[in-house]
């Protein structure tokens, strides 16, 4: 009886560990130690979804953190030739898409081409989501579902992952997820990932 209880307890403990382990891996507040300083320079920032939040990541990276990344909100694949790390700022903005004269399907096609080129060139990919719930919804989710699984790491400002979409996608794809409380903190994570120039 006692032995049976121990086996059950052991089995329970294994199950709990198995359930919690991915959360520990995929909901960190800082980048995994093994990834620090491993993303090669130069970096290049573009939006995935035409969100204006890409401008925030640009000034964060370049004006505040002096990372010197290239930037174009709706970059074509040829725009980042020579860059080694691609930063995708996720979030569909109907206003942004309208301003760019694009439909969501056209934007998805552009982002697919950008990702394909980055993978072909052996670039590392960082996906960032900074817009909170305002950058979630059907259109944004399509963008997120496209980009998160093909990223080397995903950084999300809390609020954007309130429903656990990023957690699920990253867990399934084995992509580390860093969840932070602020855009400034997201910048610190981004900087910690970059190799020295």
């Amino acid at each position: 009886m006692m032995r049976q209880y121990r086996i059950r307890a052991f089995f329970f403990a294994v199950c709990v560990f198995a359930a919690l382990a991915p959360m520990a891996v995929f909901a960190q507040s800082s980048a995994p130690a093994a990834m620090l300083g491993t993303f090669p320079q130069p970096g290049y920032i573009t939006s995935a979804g035409q969100t204006s939040d890409a401008a925030i990541v640009k000034v964060l990276a370049n004006t505040r953190l002096k990372l010197g990344f290239g930037y174009e909100i709706s970059a074509k694949p040829q725009a980042f030739a020579g860059s080694k790390t691609l930063v995708l700022v996720l979030g569909a903005s109907n206003k942004g898409l309208g301003a760019a004269g694009m439909s969501l399907d056209q934007e998805l096609a552009r982002v697919k081409a950008v990702i394909a080129q980055a993978q072909k060139d052996g670039m590392k990919i960082i996906s960032m989501h900074t817009g909170g719930t305002a950058r979630r919804g059907e259109a944004s989710n399509k963008i997120i579902e496209l980009c998160a699984p093909v990223s080397n790491i995903v950084i999300v400002v809390q609020g954007g992952n309130a429903d656990g979409l990023f957690t699920d996608l990253c867990a399934k794809a084995g992509v580390p997820l860093v969840q932070v409380p602020s855009i400034a903190e997201a910048g610190n994570v981004l900087k910690s990932l970059m190799a020295p120039k």
């Binding site: 204006s52 401008a55 004006t63 505040r64 900074t130 305002a134 855009i183 400034a184």
Partner: protein
Amino acid sequence: MKRFFAVPLMLAALALTSVGAESGVALVASEVRPGAGVTEVRSLSDFVPALAGTPFDTPVYLLGGAKDEATAAGATDGAQAAGGAKASSAPFTAAIVAGEHANEIAGVLAAYWIIERCVVSSGRLAIVPRANASGATWSLSGAQAPRLIHLDGRAIRYGTRLSNPLQETEPDPERFVPPLAAASFAPLAGQEARNLNREYPGSPDGRRTAQAAYAITAMLRAESVKIALDLHEATMSSALTWSIITRKEYLDAAALAALDIEDTTGVTFHLEDSRDEFAGYSHWEWGKMGVEAFLVETPNPAQPKDDPSVDQLHHAKAPLALRVYVHLRAAKALLENASAMSGADDALVIEGFPSSIEEVGRWLEGI
């Protein structure tokens, strides 16, 4: 039977007279206590005389150096006489407009804070705290009776998004198209003709709301305003809450401001593009004039129906002090970053912004 109708008719006529009689200038003067930083007070009727004495006339408070001082100095050294350098010698001027929608009170109160507590030691700041004063004379919940929020011994009107229909010169059209909208623009509901933030750049001989829009546009031109902020609020669930809306060319200044706002308030903002579908909006139409225009949105828990049961002061998620504080820090960050990015570092120096939510809370409640 006739007597039965006569009394309501008389009351209605009285109401019409009373709502039409009070000048918006008097209304605003009853709410705000100008501080030592105010150097001049003008009103929209200085720019559109037809507004004088109407509920649409509203004060423009000016802080900092007089516009004429620098131009007079320019004239002394001959630059003015030669017809050049007037613009460069004039003080760097920014504007803050609030209360375009009179129910979005955090913006109005942020503007009142600046009028009461700020001093401009370099440059010039024009503030229109109740851009649509007519909107403050009525409320959705009480027809002609404006709702009041009592703060520190004063009654602040919680109005509505639109001008008071009884104070307009014309009934609403069936459909409304902003003045400079493209031919493809889908017409709006007729009541939007009373939405000040759909009427820019306005018209000097249109309906009163259009005249108010024209007067604000004329003020921006007359003051050579370089940067203009428009303070608003949105429904809690709106994607616009905690956002800055601006034209693409000014996104970098907005982005830097968003980072500063997060640093000082802990609130993360997102950015929205202004574009031609925003015909009639401040950020689009002022931007066309070369003004760096930014619209700031905080959440208002009573919107969209202006629910009178909502406790504005102590709401758990969006207390008034937080919203006013964020508006003020956003104003500071936008003015600093936009002026720096336009190469005018230190051209506009404003002192007196709050350093904590608690400070704003004490001001609101008179503690």
